[in-house]
Symmetry: C2
Subunit: 757 residues, 2 copies
């Protein structure tokens, strides 16, 4: 049930003169808003009266377009603004997500919306009565800047009402500033338009520039930063006096993904990649007219399209919300629902077909290189329409074959897993990646050793579903052409979930994974899937911004460095203690945890190894919240450690309540969650390379009830590098008020199940 | 019935030493082919032993791609070639088009295919046994260059077999040369990637550069030439000694449309617009490594994609055919089937649903500005998904309303026209053009005053069909997303033909109308339409290259300056005496002839006027061959000149035979055609602003048969400007052997029907 309470606050403001001040419901977060001497909209943010964001300007630079412009330069939405109206409101409502970390989510904030009038004069030549002259033509436009002030931060967005002088416009750059108070520690990724699969860098803000080379060259995902101080969001920071600050965005739909460019002491100008066009259809580049802010200021930098432009807009419209979360308790960064709250309510009427899912899959053995997605090695390249697959020579390494898939189905059925992902089932994997090959897959034709009907029938007979896989190879036009048929095939055979992939460069060439058009594409696929009652888990797509509230069939995304990198050289042990602060802010990640056999060369030719203990792997099912959880390792590896695998069998993936007990970015996270619709709790703790001792007070348990407590814990001599499979399983009966002390090994963790007796 | 005769010619060639010489079946056209001192494939062309193409080199520059390249520079396909194999063959076959200028088309040519081996060495660093060194790594690739030598010209293409060192490649530029022998007269359009709706320029080759500004600024279609000497194909030329030469291309599918860049005395370097990328995903530009040829040489210039690249290729594959037609008789330029012959046979098994069509439409009154496509003027812009169309305020000018459409249906039924085109029937026209608006139309929702079911039922009850209209506004992604539903709606309501439109800039931004991806799009639409038994008539799409042989449901294209320009300032009187030599080489044009009331201000506020006499308008139904012929003027205008309209009622639009009786580019064209499956003939003559007297010998008529001859002719005082509606209709009985002398007024023409008695 929702309710809204409207409350008009008394503002310490007289229009255009002094600043509006807006406090969050509990008063911890305070916002100031005003226009500066140039008429630039400016805000400041405080937490418990300590400055968090110093005076920061808001606005957009527009690009001239031969069509949209009436002639002359396009006037930016930067300055000459005055506040002409202000509205304040308090909302307190509670909503229920279809799936999530808690059953109820409270959305409690104070809203402040300023209507800003921009007035300017533009020289214009007149001709009439035989005389030519110049006059200053007056213009005006209005925009709204809306803030929502929560106890743990703010959202702000630009709104563009429909009006004669603002109907269509092209964005050259958004210039939203986030001016930091000092040289904070930041956990950042290099700002790239197509990839966010790098290791996170931890550095002072002042060190971003000098560390960029390292950031680019460390790890094994190609990265091309747009600026030497360009970083991605969500960006987690910590101040020297212990404030945690996070910058991200919410509800980014049909708008380019936002990056941040840090202005530091060496910044001479903004990075602008608006390209010169080959003809009049492409606007000429223009130097930024936005003034550089003070150092330690992040400025928004949107992902460009193929011509370098950032957005094509039609009023009435809004930008996504720009979010700043702040607290003196790191746990608030994880428990906040600010980003989900800033998204629109669920747009799907009947959500009964959407469900959390635990799955295994024919995947890891291909990732490590032991078997192949492709069926044949016979051809240097293939044309889908010219091959008779029944006549080609198999390479003998094709994983998605009937026998193997049945083995996985049996395993899933036996262990209560809901679905089996099968990658490499459909023709086209022979030369699928990075060839600028448009017609790369058709999404409906199986390889000859994959019997679509038989395998689905077999799975269904055992209470298991297959999980569809659509690798698009980033040939989005090709995917959209086949989308309807592909989803229809899924309906025909009983699939209800698809993992999509966007590996490689976008086709059409020149576009980027995080551009406005691609963000539209990802959501288009989700909406089309909803029509077919299909859940979507998109890999390599844009980073989430909470759209899963509106479209809860978007059950997962990758959009970060996932478990696969443990087979591509490995990820640092603290990686999973950072992701919940950064990547997971916008929505769940299909991290594909559960690697029990970390030394891959013990069963394959792969020399990589996963930097995690077995108990740590179990912890991820709690610390990396997702309604979609994979048991990623091979069935035979789980069978080898069946007592530990019991936790994966038992753990829920949908929750009534979640309590973050301990948290520090890149160090440790401890969380307790109550399984939805049950009295049972599960606790997970994960730490970095230094180990950790978690102190877990069981005061969240039902009073007067006993629980069977099973603890899966690193053995005393466990270590992610030298002794990862050393774990201890302990069972005991516990009750509310007791405390568990749980030692986590370097790169380790623990998992606890508490089954109500 | 087809037959092929294989004949191995004796070639005056020993491999790699002297040139191969290949003569056409009648010996008039001769080709020489060899590799020059740099190993560049080179050809020469002769007509009746006079040089037509001087030594001209063939090859392609490739772009480096991070994926496709094994490291180092991508080696071009330009030089270091040697001929390692030659195959010659003679083909003489006859095929029947589904529709066309004649029932049978003879395809008679001598084929010559040279296999060329390219060998080169590339420096490579070695590291082994603790030692580093450099060595010259040997490489080799082979390509085939195939010529087909016809009596009226040649086709040549590049073929790329699949091989280890040529699997995928990126084209930076194709460098096919056409080296002219002198300063020919040319009829040319400025080379633009998106428009070919300019007036044709007539000039010497040496004057192209100086006339480019005029070419760009004359007329009213925006044009952005890629080079000061860049022109489009088909390019018609005439030499000082009376040879007619035409350069175009055939079978351009999934390849960028070819333009030509003239190398003249002032050319310092090729025009290259490969753009610097904003990141590593875009190949760096590289200066052309192709040497400049001698002046008066045209060099191919392909349409780029958004990043400036010209093509993404996967072997085995070929380029389109590059064609050079030549004759000392201008009529051969018009009667040649060389371009159709170079296309693949029909790909549609059942073509029974494809038919020539005569139509009228709700169109001209909107073009002149008297009524509107859009239904309302209420909003500055519209979002399709936010408007309740039943509640908006109509502007009172919406043409596609029930009453008017019924009037057109009645008119079509009464006059034996097959279909009625209705533009502006579907929602979205309020702000459809040039707004970078992706979701501009949905192609299925009619305006409230257009009753889709009633109007189709009404039409069908009278033996008429409606002709669907899909303006895409060049938002191709949006069109592809709606394509299946849009075609399904057509099937549901009984439409079997669609006029598509591509006005404005391509979305995705940065792409061009004539790029590889757009050429793929147009053909994708045609193929999807074929599945629905729908004929396609695409406006503003790429210029045709004979693909209608393979896909005969592609019944029309615009791709040139059509009749609409008579309402946009007018076209020169010689325009329609040029188009058959240029634009129509690749396939029929939906020119929409038949304007009887040329002074538009007599019935609308439009001050433009059509530069043609009424009799000249009738001639266009013969001289501008198309299986799709519109009677474009208003029903009331035809009713006013009902005796002349009789010719439009009578004229066929599918033919057993066509005989070009007279022709001179930009001066006059006279053609006689025999209506398919009948003994009846129709003759049309059209001339430029100077008038013309046609001498028509009726020796093509059946001997011993009499014909009722109706002549629609300019009156003696007729003139396209001062007296366009002065015409005389004469009836008499004629027989074979007689001669008609037919005087055509300035900007005039004549039409004759010969009905067998």
């Amino acid at each position: 049930m929702k309710f809204a309470k409207t409350l008009f606050l008394m503002l310490a403001v007289s229009l255009g003169a002094t600043a509006a001040e807006v406090a969050s419901p509990n008063g911890h977060v305070k916002l100031k808003f005003y226009t500066d001497d140039d008429g630039r909209p400016t805000y400041e943010l405080f937490y418990k009266d300590r400055p968090v964001v110093l005076p920061s300007r808001l606005g957009l630079e527009l690009a001239r377009d031969k069509h949209a412009s009436k002639g002359g330069e396009e006037h930016d939405l930067l300055d000459h603004f005055s506040i002409v109206d202000e509205q304040t409101d308090t909302i307190d409502e509670t909503w229920q997500p279809v799936w999530g970390e808690s059953r109820d989510i409270r959305n409690h904030y104070v809203e402040y919306a300023a209507t800003l009038l921009q007035q300017w004069k533009q020289p214009r030549v007149t001709a009439g009565n035989g005389q030519r002259g110049m006059y200053e033509e007056p213009h005006q436009r209005s925009i709204v800047i809306r803030f929502r002030v929560y106890d743990e931060g703010i959202g702000l967005r630009y709104e563009f009402p429909q009006q004669p002088e603002l109907n269509y416009f092209l964005i050259q750059e958004e210039r939203t500033e986030f001016s930091m108070t000092g040289d904070h520690t930041a956990w950042w990724l290099p700002g790239d338009y197509d990839s966010q699969e790098q290791e996170t860098q931890e550095s002072k803000l002042s060190e971003i520039r000098s560390r960029m080379d390292h950031a680019v060259n460390w790890g094994n995902s190609s990265v091309a930063p747009f600026s030497p101080t360009g970083v991605q969001t969500s960006l987690q920071m910590k101040t020297q006096d212990g404030l945690y600050i996070n910058i991200h965005e919410a509800a980014c739909a049909d708008y380019a993904t936002m990056h941040l460019e840090l202005v530091d002491e060496q910044t001479k100008a903004f990075t602008t990649e608006l390209r010169g066009g080959s003809n009049e259809y492409t606007p000429a580049p223009k130097p930024s007219r936005a003034k550089l802010p003070r150092p330690y200021t992040f400025v928004s930098h949107l992902t460009p399209d193929a011509t370098g432009l950032k957005g094509c807009m039609q009023t009435p419209c809004t930008t996504p919300w720009r979010t700043v979360m702040v607290s003196d308790d790191a746990r608030d960064m994880l428990s906040s629902n600010l980003i989900l709250n800033l998204n629109e309510p669920c747009a799907i009427d009947d959500t009964s077909w959407i469900h959390p899912t635990k799955y295994c899959g024919v995947w890891w053995e291909m990732i490590v290189g032991k078997s192949s997605w492709n069926y044949t090695d016979q051809f240097p390249s293939i044309h889908l329409d010219r091959i008779d697959w029944t006549k080609v020579k198999p390479n003998g390494r094709h994983a998605a074959n009937n026998e193997k898939v049945k083995r996985y189905i049996d395993f899933a059925a036996k262990n209560g897993l809901d679905q089996v992902l099968v990658e490499g089932w459909n023709v086209g994997w022979e030369d699928w990646a990075n060839m600028w090959k448009r017609d790369v897959f058709d999404f409906v034709t199986p390889y000859p050793d994959f019997d679509l009907k038989m395998l689905n029938d077999y799975a269904h007979s055992k209470g298991v579903k297959l999980l569809m896989h659509h690798e698009t190879s980033s040939s989005t036009q090709n995917y959209e052409r086949h989308l309807e048929q592909a989803f229809q095939l899924m309906n025909d055979y009983g699939y209800d979930a698809v993992k999509t992939g966007y590996v490689g460069d976008i086709i059409p060439r020149g576009d980027h994974h995080y551009s406005q058009s691609m963000n539209n594409h990802y959501l288009h696929v989700v909406k089309e899937a909803a029509k077919h009652h299909i859940m979507v888990n998109a890999h390599e797509a844009t980073r989430p911004t909470g759209l899963c509230r509106t479209w809860p069939n978007m059950v997962g995304n990758e959009s970060a460095r996932g478990t696969e990198y443990e087979a591509f050289g490995g990820s640092r042990p603290d990686h999973t203690c950072i992701l919940p602060f950064t990547r997971l802010q916008g929505g769940p990640m299909d991290y594909t945890p559960g690697i029990f056999v970390t030394r891959l060369n013990t069963w394959s030719g792969n020399q990589s190894w996963a930097r995690i203990t077995l108990a740590g792997s179990l912890a991820l099912y709690l610390t990396m919240y997702s309604p979609l959880q994979m048991a990623a390792d091979l069935p035979e590896h789980y069978e080898r450690f069946d007592d530990a695998f019991q936790f994966i069998r038992d753990v829920a993936c949908d929750w009534d309540e979640s309590i973050y007990l301990e948290a520090e970015p890149a160090d440790y996270i401890t969380v307790a969650r109550k399984a939805k619709g049950t009295p049972n709790w599960f606790i997970g703790g994960k730490c970095d390379e230094n180990g950790h001792e978690a102190i877990v007070k069981l005061d969240f348990l039902d009073k007067g009830r006993k629980y069977e407590c099973t603890i899966y814990q690193d053995a005393p001599d466990a270590h992610y590098e030298t002794n990862p499979q050393a774990y201890v399983i302990t069972k005991k009966t516990v009750k509310a008020g007791q405390t568990l002390k749980l030692k986590e090994a370097p790169g380790g963790g623990f998992a606890v199940s508490l089954i109500a007796l």
